[in-house]
Symmetry: C2
């Protein structure tokens, strides 16, 4: 198992047919997740294309995840959690924390994505809207959203099978102001492993 | 009033303080809408940042619309419709129509965006996820989405006030396979005007 350090990102090559298992080790850690096609980083997993294809606000086991060219890049093959993942909310970024009143630099998922990709010698063209694993954003009948604590337990994990050669990037979300990583505001490490 | 021809796009400069009124002239026409900051096309209206700021699946009168740098670029100041607009679904594109079984080139909102911007001598860096005005994508408690006919009537309009100098691009959506522009599959013109 590889570690995604608390408040940091990691990226990994995943070949078509391999899977990546992403583990909520301590039970209340959101993991922002992206996937880019190995050959062309401008084609990447897109939440707005995935919602259109699935006609669903979020994926469940058996569903594909689709790129901005409408190709299936991943399939969710396993999920031990209640399935409360988010496709609606942008990755946190410096601007987000400034607006939340933070005066110093704050770790953020957008910078984590670029740093993680850079560790593989890669620069993504932008920070796409992520698949926010274990992030609990309930909606109401009239469309109100809220940032709620995860419904997960330690060791909950999701497995994603690669349908294309791709790079999967993950960020252990450093959000410690909103209760999205639990009401205590504690951010923790997470883990992943590549399965053949 | 300027015409957005059926199945085509238009773009217009809107200065800070001006407004743009977008009119559903014939009553059942979706208008995909984008906004780019005038000085830097890489900063644009972002649905995932707007949802995070509004904590809502869609904007209503009085709400801001936010860029990928979390700046307010537009404010919705008027809406004569029932407010059934969409922030969830990607602009249609060639790939979409191929997957829907179309064998020839099909007009699409993504190409319309690039053509409309090109008519102003501008090339956007990508097709951002649009604000789909008058597009009726209801959601259920368990997150299912559907592509339903508009709930609008002829002449319904939305007014957006520019909070930054920007370029607003619009596409009269050419979708005639799904019932999103009405059950008859008829695509029509729409109109817009700039208000000082």
């Amino acid at each position: 198992m590889e570690t995604i350090p608390a408040r940091r990102g990691k990226a990994a090559h995943v070949k078509r047919g391999q899977s990546i298992r992403i583990v909520n080790t301590h039970g209340a850690q959101v993991v922002d997740t992206w996937a880019f096609t190995a050959g062309m980083l401008t084609e990447f997993m897109s939440m707005e294309h995935t919602r259109a294809t699935l006609t669903s606000l979020r994926p469940k086991v058996g569903d594909g995840l689709y790129t901005n060219r409408r190709r299936k890049i991943l399939t969710m093959t396993e999920d031990t959690s209640h399935g409360d993942h988010d496709t609606l909310i942008a990755a946190c970024d410096s601007e987000r924390y400034i607006l939340l009143g933070v005066k110093e630099y704050h770790d953020n998922c957008t910078d984590n994505l670029f740093a993680a990709m850079q560790s593989l010698g890669l620069t993504p063209p932008e920070c796409p809207s992520p698949l926010n694993l274990f992030m609990n954003i309930p909606w109401t009948a009239d469309g109100r959203l809220s940032f709620d604590p995860p419904t997960t337990k330690p060791g909950d994990h999701v497995t994603l099978r690669a349908e294309l050669d791709c790079i999967v990037a993950m960020s252990a979300c450093p959000q410690d102001i909103l209760p999205i990583n639990g009401r205590t505001g504690t951010t923790t490490e997470a883990h992943y492993e590549i399965l053949d």
